[in-house]
């Protein structure tokens, strides 16, 4: 595999004039934060400068930037009353860079968001350990910490496209259940040493303090013991309640449901507990009626976010941009096809490319105005290639509901309308 060095974001494509390049960039930025006011035709139309608003305790997004998550209840039930929602999706079509803003990180809960007073919260660690211990939030904050940029992906991400492609879907609808944050907390290994885990313990039960008491059995492989951590920080601040305040488990590369939020108990044992979540819920039903269980790792994936579903493009220069991620490690390469998968071109990756974190990719494209389809495919450092839809469905059937990572195709018609299709 050829490994192209990621280039700086704003270097000019070789085959473009400076004017064309700047024009293209402006169009991209405008689409990120669309304004409602009339455009300034000349500099004379630009509003005068003047004193601004008072400083504030915490800054808000510009009123001209309309960026919201979308509450959803099961696949296809969208834009519903938040009280009926089970998740809320990240608006990838309006975001730039590699990191998801904290308030736009996707959210999935199974019994709402508990309002936990950290002074009263406790983490109990027990089971096959020499010294069962109880920790307060302050105890955790006093321990040696790490910070790591990690994606978390709901195993249901992509579930809109299992059986059919609704043409009216945005990338927020199809892929809004993955986000990337810098998490800060205490390595699991440190806690394991504190409680003197029994060597015979090979599985760990992690349980949340939410109404559902969500709990998952986690195999204590070397990778998981070395990489998992109990986080209390998110992008430099305390976790938001929606994301597990005051503490959650972070399991780099593994399905979202394992990253137990509002963590209150870790129990060590030597076999999985077969909780509802790892039997009745997050298992993948195959075409023959059998279900794949303990499919815990998120596979290599990618999606084009610009242009994407329900956007409209113009002939000429377009910058294709998107996100790629893999639970196996770093993304090694992303390729883009603008002719329905016949030919592929390697995209540029925006630094830094981090293990088990989303990375932005981009490519210059001059659209000739003819109908076509665009699609991306990622390859990770382990050599896993994101499958095309046909081979993915041939292996998994259409009932699996979870772990959809087939290539996402967007069609573009003669008017430049971008729509969700299966290919």
């Amino acid at each position: 595999m050829t490994s192209k060095t990621p280039i700086e974001l704003l270097s000019r494509p070789a085959n473009m004039s400076r004017r064309g390049f700047v024009g293209g960039l402006s169009a991209g930025i405008l689409s990120v934060a669309a304004t409602e006011a009339a455009n300034a035709e000349t500099l004379a139309d630009v509003p005068d400068r003047g004193p601004g608003a008072d400083l504030s305790a915490h800054s808000e997004r510009s009123r001209f930037a309309k960026i919201d998550r979308i509450p959803e209840a099961t696949p296809g039930k969208r834009n519903i009353d938040p009280s009926d929602a089970i998740n809320s999706k990240t608006p990838h079509q309006k975001l730039v860079g590699n990191i998801t803003p904290t308030d736009l990180h996707y959210e999935r809960s199974h019994s709402g968001v508990p309002d936990i007073d950290p002074a009263q919260h406790r983490l109990l660690i027990h089971g096959m350990v020499g010294k069962p211990l109880i920790f307060s939030v302050d105890d955790l904050k006093r321990m040696p910490s790490i910070s790591r940029v990690v994606f978390i992906e709901c195993t249901g991400n992509g579930w809109e496209n299992w059986k059919k492609a609704d043409p009216d879907l945005t990338v927020q609808n199809t892929h809004g259940l993955v986000s990337t944050t810098e998490w800060t907390g205490v390595p699991l290994k440190f806690l394991i040493d504190l409680v003197a885990k029994d060597r015979g313990s090979t599985w760990m039960l992690a349980e949340g303090g939410d109404g559902a008491g969500v709990d998952r059995s986690i195999p204590l492989t070397d990778e998981i013991v070395n990489e998992a951590f109990v986080a209390y920080g998110q992008n430099g601040e305390p976790l938001r309640p929606a994301h597990g305040f005051p503490m959650r488990l972070v399991m780099p590369g593994f399905e979202g449901n394992l990253n137990i939020k509002w963590l209150r108990r870790l129990k060590f044992g030597n076999a999985p507990w077969m909780t509802r979540w790892e039997t009745a819920r997050y298992t993948q039903l195959l075409a023959d009626g059998k279900a794949r269980q303990f499919q815990l790792r998120m596979d290599t994936n990618s999606v084009i976010t610009q242009p994407s579903g329900m956007m409209q493009i113009q002939p000429g220069y377009n910058r294709i941009s998107g996100l790629a991620w893999s639970g196996h490690g770093k993304i090694a390469e992303v390729e883009i096809s603008t002719d329905g998968g016949k030919t592929w071109t390697e995209a540029q990756l925006s630094l830094p490319v981090l293990s088990k974190a989303q990375v932005r990719f981009q490519m210059d494209w001059v659209w000739d105005g003819k109908p076509t389809t665009i699609v991306s495919r990622s390859t990770d450092e382990q050599g896993n290639v994101q499958p095309d839809r046909n081979s993915f469905i041939a292996a998994m059937g259409t009932n699996a509901l979870f772990h959809y990572n087939a290539q996402q195709t967007w069609s573009i018609d003669e008017a430049g309308r971008v729509r969700n299709v299966l290919a």
Binding site: I125, T221, W273, R276, A291, R292, Q293, F294
Partner: protein, 181 residues
Amino acid sequence: MSSHKRLITGVLAIGLLASPAFAFDFGRPATPDEIKLWDIDVGPDGKGLPDGSGTVVQGKQVFSDYCSACHGENGHGGIKDRLAGGQGTLASNMPVKTVGSFWPYATTLFDYIHRAMPYPTPGSLGTDETYAVTAYILSLNGIIPADGKVDKDSLPKIRMPNRDGFVPEPEFDPARLFHKK
């Protein structure tokens, strides 16, 4: 293997040297009585199931009082997850996943009801009520008879219809994961 052992010994030695300071600095010991308050999980072998029992007949009343508003009077037709029926549909284009058609262990049913149900007041059912409503849902699926009863000895012995319906992902197969040479 021996180098692995040496590594573990090394880690233990460091842990022992450092532990007097760390142990007091972080957290406090959990007493057995405290652990009992939170130690609610139930394994497929029945480990963790409390003393007590419940009948299908008792469970029908508990279900009517606390569950039917969301799950329907007979475990289907409600606004939330369908609990009964669906056998034979898993390989079809419209699979219906219920306790009877999909769940591999009856112990999981007790555990889940106990920890998460009823949705507005999780943990509010008593032990016998939890056994009873577990029995009722199993009977709705034809797994135990209408005059049946469950307790901590009988529940793990129930063989669920889809017990053999699961194929572990090879990377995390519990039967093989930690038994490699």
